[in-house]
């Protein structure tokens, strides 16, 4: 057969597109309700359907990505994990309880178990990415991930320790080291990605995040510091127990209003800043990725993510108001009826309870459904769309040189059993 030559992608530049196909709300709704009525078992098929939707919407050179994974594979990975994890967890509980007579032994068993679980999570996340890539194709060519899970874990633990010791200052170096390892081990067909990135490049942006979190906290604490150093508070902070000396009440602090407002502000601004940082970091990293002679370039902007989170927040506030109205109406209708029933003894208390559950359960189910729709449609999907459509590929013509890899493809997606991987 003749080799495929000649016509390839278009020009020197190719911009990635996002199609935004219809049917997302229907897909999310079906996923939600089927997962609900199958007490969670459908989640593997749900994740698969959502990925298939997302992948097919991302288009490069006129062709969409294709997700070829199946719910059955994820379910199988879950069964394997369950058959191994369930007895292990029970063994841990047994060992832990048996050793309670000796606190040192008990503490070390607990420590080992949680460290093991933590490492398992990293293994799972790395393997989950490997699985997703191995089920991602474009024009029939598969992506894949090489590299050693244990090397990745070592990087994670080493840099993680460094980050903890430096109180978070070293986080960009950790972030970049892990991303570098993952990206340098990402292949498309027979080509491996290569990335040149340094943690120091993200340090400035990370400082902004830390400042946004720390400044409101400092504003809350410093003016109240003398009062907060009261022996009673120190005792609570150190021993976790209330001491005999009565702690001053909140209102007796010099500036109670600061302590009431600024910590919450720190959390809200912190979330916004973290989203901003993640997108800015994505742009930095993506713009340093090459594949053969092709080069990626990203124009993603962190502020777009901030806007999206604010929109999402508005949606949630609106939802809360709507829920408040629903409850108010329910209350206005229900309270007189219930009162009359209790006074007249026409309804048994259990019946009232049952009716309350029968009314509240659908309200709760619908609430969670709407929250899920808002989270995807106003937060995640727009951010994914932004990240995709700001991605640009230089020297795209070279794509036709990429051939299918001859390596065998991965079998199972064990990590996806526990909803650790995002998409």
């Amino acid at each position: 057969m003749a080799e495929l030559t000649g016509v390839v992608g278009t020009a020197a530049h190719e911009r990635v597109g996002y199609e935004g196909r219809r049917g997302l709300v229907g897909l999310l709704s079906k996923n939600y309700f089927l997962t609900l009525i199958t007490i969670g078992i459908y989640r593997f098929w749900a994740a698969t359907r959502l990925r298939r939707y997302l992948w097919s919407n991302i288009r490069i050179g006129g062709d969409g990505l294709e997700y070829t994974g199946t719910g059955r594979e994820l379910f199988l990975g879950f069964l394997v994990a369950l058959a191994v994890l369930a007895p292990l967890s029970i063994a841990y509980i047994l060992a832990y309880r048996l050793s309670l007579g000796s606190p040192v032994l008990a503490a070390s068993i607990q420590g080992v178990y949680f460290l093991a679980l933590f490492i398992f999570m990293q293994v799972a996340l790395f393997r989950s990415r490997r699985y997703r890539l191995s089920r991602t194709t474009w024009r029939g060519i598969y992506a894949s991930q090489t590299g050693s899970t244990w090397h990745y874990c070592g990087l994670f633990l080493g840099y993680g320790l460094l980050t903890v010791v430096t109180l978070g200052v070293a986080l960009p170096w950790m972030h970049v080291a892990l991303a570098r390892y993952k990206l340098n081990n990402t292949c498309f067909g027979n080509r491996s990605m290569h990335v040149e990135a340094k943690g120091s490049a993200l340090f400035g942006r990370w400082l902004v995040v830390m400042a946004v979190i720390a400044i409101p906290l400092a504003l809350a604490i410093v003016p109240n510091l003398s009062a907060l150093l009261h022996p009673a508070y120190v005792d609570i902070a150190v021993t976790g127990k209330k001491s005999a000396a009565a702690a001053p009440k909140m209102l007796e602090l010099p500036h109670p209003i600061l302590l009431a407002i600024f910590p919450a502000l720190s959390v809200i601004l912190g979330v916004l800043a973290l989203i901003w940082y993640r997108i800015e970091a994505f742009r930095y990293l993506a713009s340093r990725v090459g594949l053969g002679t092709m080069q990626l370039n990203s124009d993603a902007r962190g502020m777009i993510g901030v806007g999206q989170v604010l929109l999402f927040g508005l949606g949630m506030i609106g939802l809360s108001i709507a829920m408040g109205l629903v409850f108010a109406v329910l209350g206005v209708i229900a309270v007189p009826i219930v009162k009359a029933a209790i006074v007249g003894k026409t309804i048994a208390p259990q019946t009232i309870g049952l009716v309350a559950v029968a009314v509240m359960l659908p309200v709760y189910v619908i609430l969670l459904w709407v929250i899920q729709l808002i989270t995807y449609c106003w937060l995640w999907i727009p951010i994914i769309k932004h990240l995709a459509t700001t991605l640009d590929i230089t020297n795209f013509a070279a794509v036709s040189d990429i051939a299918q890899s001859t390596q065998p493809r991965q079998k199972l997606g064990i990590a996806d059993s526990f909803e650790l991987g995002a998409f």
């Binding site: 495929l4 199609e19 969409g64 294709e66 199946t70 059955r72 369930a86 007895p87 029970i90």
Partner: protein, 371 residues
């Protein structure tokens, strides 16, 4: 175009052969022998049998579709809206899987393994651990657990206006309670020191907790008419403690709930632990355990030289005043039915002393009053 018109059977398309990421423009044609893919100059590249053709993506907003061959990597993109209609007529397996899934046999084997592991844990190991709780759970841990549960239960049963004195500690009331407990406790062999607390709540209930602790609700004290009724109820709860029912229930329920959480995707089992706390409030220990505790109560009372008859009368009265179905709480719930319990207890030989003097009984009744 009218739908009755037959769809065109040949369309232009873009083809990638599954070996490189390049594509070429081709003409695809569906016919009796399958889907043939040919270069624009007519050179045939591939022919996919009709039962091998799969729809791998689409139609997208513009109606374009992407096709694949079962188990293969080659792809054919067709933008012609007619193509899908034609293929649906000719290729019955168009929407079936690409054939890259693991077989159901493998899924079945691992399902079996996972189910076996779960069954072993739920029906073997967890009940075994629960039944041998006293051998491997330290008294200190039991007490901690009991205190946690007591806090939890108090938070949910005490009315908000009574939160400041959730526990009834009237000194004379406590002294009377001590008098009531002492003769019964003397016949017990518990691991820990027995602790009885009175909770300021209208619930008609008493609960035995891990760590040899009993919670008595004010509603129960209000309902009882004489000291031996209350002594019987306390004896019943002491019976549960003696037989280690609370610890067993907590282990069984939290272990099972942990596993259910694991199946539903909660790797840390955190949601399960909080669930176990409520179990003691709403579950009975089971028919046999309740009967055993009743029998234990009768034995304790008789050994202490107390009259058992009021304890039986208590159940009879409970049945008459509240009915069986009306009380959503464990101790008094219908395992076994109250009238049966009344009969069983009344079968015990009559005679015996009053547990408290009238004065002490009045003090006990007022245990929730301020000092």
């Amino acid at each position: 175009m009218a739908l009755s018109e037959p769809p065109r059977l040949a369309w232009p398309g873009r083809y990638s052969d599954g070996r490189t990421a390049a594509f070429i423009r081709v003409e695809a044609r569906i016919g009796e022998d399958g889907l043939s893919i040919a270069d624009e100059d007519g050179t045939r590249r591939e022919n996919w049998r009709r039962d091998e053709v799969r729809l791998v993506d689409g139609p997208d907003a513009s109606g374009a579709i992407r096709l694949g061959r079962r188990g293969g990597d080659a792809r054919l993109s067709v933008a012609d809206g007619d193509a899908l209609r034609a293929l649906e007529l000719h290729c019955a397996s168009l929407r079936k899987s690409m054939g890259n899934e693991s077989s159901w046999r493998v899924v079945a084997i691992w399902s079996g393994a996972a189910l076996a592991a779960l069954a072993f844990l739920i029906f073997g190991l967890i009940p075994f651990l629960a039944d041998h709780a006293s051998e491997w759970v330290s008294p200190r841990l039991e007490t901690q657990l009991g205190d946690q549960l007591a806090d939890f239960i108090m938070r949910f049963t005490v009315a908000s206006e009574d939160k400041d004195h959730a526990e009834c500690t009237n000194a004379r009331g406590r002294a009377a309670l001590g008098q009531l407990i002492a003769p019964l406790e003397a016949e017990l062999a518990l691991r820990d020191k027995l602790r009885v607390r009175v909770i300021n709540s209208k619930m008609l209930n008493a609960i035995a907790l891990p760590g040899d602790e009993i919670l008595v609700f004010k509603g129960l004290i209000d309902f009882t008419r004489e000291p031996n009724e209350l002594a019987g109820v306390l004896g019943h709860e002491m019976g549960h403690l003696q037989l280690e029912h609370p610890m067993r229930l907590v282990i069984r329920e939290s272990g099972t709930a942990f596993l259910i959480g694991l199946v539903m995707g909660d790797i840390f089992g955190g949601s399960a632990i909080s669930l176990a706390g409520t179990e003691l409030l709403v579950t009975s220990f089971g028919r046999d355990a309740e009967s055993a505790a009743d029998a234990q109560a009768v034995t304790l009372m008789r050994e202490a030289g107390l009259d058992v008859a009021p304890f039986g009368a208590f159940f009879a009265r409970l049945n008459a005043e509240k009915g069986d179905g009306d009380i959503p709480i464990p101790f008094l719930r219908t395992h076994p039915p109250n009238d049966q319990r009344a009969k069983l207890i009344q079968a015990a030989p009559a005679g015996g002393a009053q547990a408290l003097t009238q004065a002490a009984w009045r003090d006990l009744k007022a245990i929730c009053d301020p000092d």
